[in-house]
Amino acid sequence: MKGFAVICKMELRLFTRDFFGVFFALVFPVLMLLLFGGIYGNTPIYDGADVRIMDISVPAYAVMVTGVTGLMSLPLTLSGYKEKKIYKRFDATPVGKKSIMLAQVFANFIMTLVGILILLIAGKLLYQIQIKGNFLSIGVSTLFSIAAMFSMGFLFTAIGRDLKSTTLLCYLFYFVMLFLSGATMPDMLFPDTIKRISDFLPMTYAVDLMQGVFAGDSLDQYGVELLILGGVTVVCTALGAALYRKKDWT
């Protein structure tokens, strides 16, 4: 247990030394907030509405943070470690490779929470966003979103033959989901064809769920979203684990 705690601490420290990881998880979402805030302003989403654009943008950007860590940082670190035989080195110790993989999940999870927190603080300070939902609903929704994104990243690492193919797979899915799920621009602006595509993207359900609970909706109203995100987590994790077992780690 002591070894695992030290690995977690070390992985967290290594994450903070990765400029791109830190930039995209902690800084980029705030820059998006400033950019889109500058473009659209913080007006009501429709005339007379109580909810303003930034109230729905911040939870959507929070999902973007889960995408950055789950679909970029985590899988690319996992894949890079495998390619460089770093896991093999850990397998030749009493702790084994599972410990370092779990430590990477832990480090990315913490960084996701920090990224979301920074985003919320920026939203509050710059645009006085309203968070009507309770802590439990927001917490559960955040966990479901993180779990779905992380499990997809895990699956992509298991599918990718090397770092290059994993990077391609992760970037492709990340950017498609980023632009078509409503995470960067409201899905109400999408034409019907794009809306139909976005229905197939797990991130769409994460964005809907987060926007809903931030607006004060009860979790009961989002059974479908929770079911889909939970299903994605279970299927991707199980499939990823099965594929990982077949990989040659040596």
Partner: protein, 257 residues
Amino acid sequence: MSKAIIRVENLNLTYKTLHAVQDVSFSVKSGEILAVIGQNGSGKTSTVECIEGLRKPDSGLIQVFGKNPWLHRREVYKEMGVQLQEAEYPLKIRVEEQCRLFASFYERPADWNLLLAQMGLDEKRKCLVHKLSGGEKQRLSVLLSLMGRPKLLILDELTTGLDPEVRQNMWISFENIRKGGVAIIMVSHYLDEVEALADKILYLEKGKQQFFGTQQGFREYVKGRISKEEWEENFSLEKLYLMLAPKTTGLSMEGIL
């Protein structure tokens, strides 16, 4: 008579259609140094990776401290230190962080500050591991293999990339470690190193065990495989080994000029 720490019987390993290790059997006792020798691709690393529990053999028996290393890897690694042929470390990790990390894996880790000084890496403790030279990385790998105060040490190409002075120093170090009762398996292409350190030799050719026994036994084995005209009593181990290797003529100038 000390008990065998490692027992390998009829070990077989295949990669798809390649039979990488075929019917290899040997044992190693505490305080003994076994050198695994053979050409590139002869199955040396595959054999030791089976002992390390990193590869699952197709058949055969492997016992390390009486346990199957594939099934009981964690327990075996509490007493086994390994230096892999090729291993990298996380990109942004510093030398002392890597040492601290590995020290946390063991209940009673070695004094890594002392080891850093002895390995000549004391001044590099704040350096990023990936910025170290090849020889420095190799020394760090050896240091990390010693972190758990092992009773069995497996060194795959121990001195590759080290300058002659450091190599000599390593030989003395491992002789001292052996005297402390630690069993050592070394995979090496440096036959002078094998001659200086090894009690026993395992010689592999295309995955097949050709010889297992003492250095003197190896001498007799080679003598039996070559003609009387070729034999000289004072052959070095390297010369003996080369007598067994297929004769090559090197590159012809035709292809270059």
